[in-house]
Symmetry: C2
Subunit: 195 residues, 2 copies
Amino acid sequence: MSLRNALLGVLSLREMSGYDIKRSFDHAVHFVWNAADSQIYRELRDMEKHELIVSHLVQQDGKPNKRVYRVTEHGLATLDEWLRSPAEAPFDKEPFLMRLFFMGRIDRDDAIRVLSERRDEIRALLAVASDRLEMYSDLSRTEHPEMLWWQVRLIKGFEHTQTAQLEWIDSLLDELRTQVERDHGTEVPGLMSED
Amino acid sequence: MSLRNALLGVLSLREMSGYDIKRSFDHAVHFVWNAADSQIYRELRDMEKHELIVSHLVQQDGKPNKRVYRVTEHGLATLDEWLRSPAEAPFDKEPFLMRLFFMGRIDRDDAIRVLSERRDEIRALLAVASDRLEMYSDLSRTEHPEMLWWQVRLIKGFEHTQTAQLEWIDSLLDELRTQVERDHGTEVPGLMSED
DNA sequence: ATGGCCATGTAAACGGTTACATGATTGG
DNA sequence: CCAATCATGTAACCGTTTACATGGCCAT
C-alpha cells in the first residue's frame, strides 16, 4: 500500500491528474518512491472506488482532456493514520549489498569496476540532491511551509547517508587497488591513477 | 531474480536444504535479503528445473527427511555473470523516507515518536552488526577467506551508513524538541530529557 | 501438555513491471 | 519532419507476501 500512501501524500498538496502525479514523482518524490504510469492510473481508479479521492473531468483544448483528483476527508484521515503508525522495518532487500556479500567469487578487477559504477551513480544522485536543495532555498513562498521544512531535511539526510556510503565505497576501492598493486608487484609498474 | 541470485550465492558456499537456507537467511544474509520459506522452496524447485542446481533426498531418523541442493557449473556461471553485471539502480522505494516527505502534516509529538522508534530500530540493528563482526573475528578458519573479507567489509559498511542515518535522525529529533520547547515556552518548564 | 525445532509444501492475493495502443499539439 | 509533451489506459506477467496444512521429536 505504499504507492497508495504516496498518492495520498502528493494529492494532499494540491489536486492533480495522473499525469501531473507522474511528473511530480519523476522530479520531487524521485529519491523516495517511483512508479510506472500504468500503475498510477490503476491505483487512482481503485482509490476513487474506495472513496479516498474524488475526480472530475477537465475539458481542455489543444490538449487531451484530463481527470483531476482531489483527496477526500477520508483520504486525509487515512494518510495521517499511516504517518502516525510505526515505520516500516528498515532493510530487507538490498540487491547491491547482497551482491557484495558474494563478491569474493569474482576477480578484483571486476569488483573494482562494479564498485566504481556504483560510486558514479551515487555522485550523480548527490548532484541532483544538491540542485534540489538550491531550488528549495529559492522557493520560500509556499502554500505548505511545514512540508518544505521536512523536504529540506529529507534531502539533507539523503546527502548525509549517501555521502557515508560513498566514503565506504571509496575506502573499499582503495583497499582493492592496493591489493592489486601488491599482487602483480613490479610486473606492471607505474599505474597509480587510473580512474 | 534477486532471490535466485541470493540462493545461488548461499549454495555456492555449501550444499544446503531449503530449511538450512532459510536459517542462513535469518542470520547471515539478514542485512541484505530476506524471503519467506514458501518462496524459497518454490524457487529452489524452479531452479532445479532450469538446471542451476541439483538435489538429492537425505534420509534422516528422528527428523523429517530433507532435500539437499547443490549448485551446478551452470548455476555458478550464472551467479558469476550476475556478480560481474552492472549493479541494480540505487534508491527507488524508501517507505521511511517517503513518510518523512509528508511528515509536515502531523503533530511534532507524533513525528518525534515515529523518529524515535526508527532510531531504536537502527540501534538494535547496529548491535546485531557489531555482534556479527565479533563472531567473524573468532572464525579465522573458513573454507572461503575471500568471502569472509567481503562479508566483514559489508558489515562495516552497514555500520558506517546506518550510523550516518542515526546521526541524521538524532539531529532531526534535536531540532524538533527545541521547537516544541520554544512553542509551549514557559508553560511546561523543566522537561529537557524525556527520551 | 506446550511450545519450539525440524522440514516441506499449496493456494490465493497483492503489488509492481513491461509491453503495447492511441492520438493531438508544439517546438526545433 | 521528428521528437517531445500531454494524457490515459489494457493485458500479461513476475516476484513477493500471507495464510494455511502436516507431523514427529525434544526439552521444560
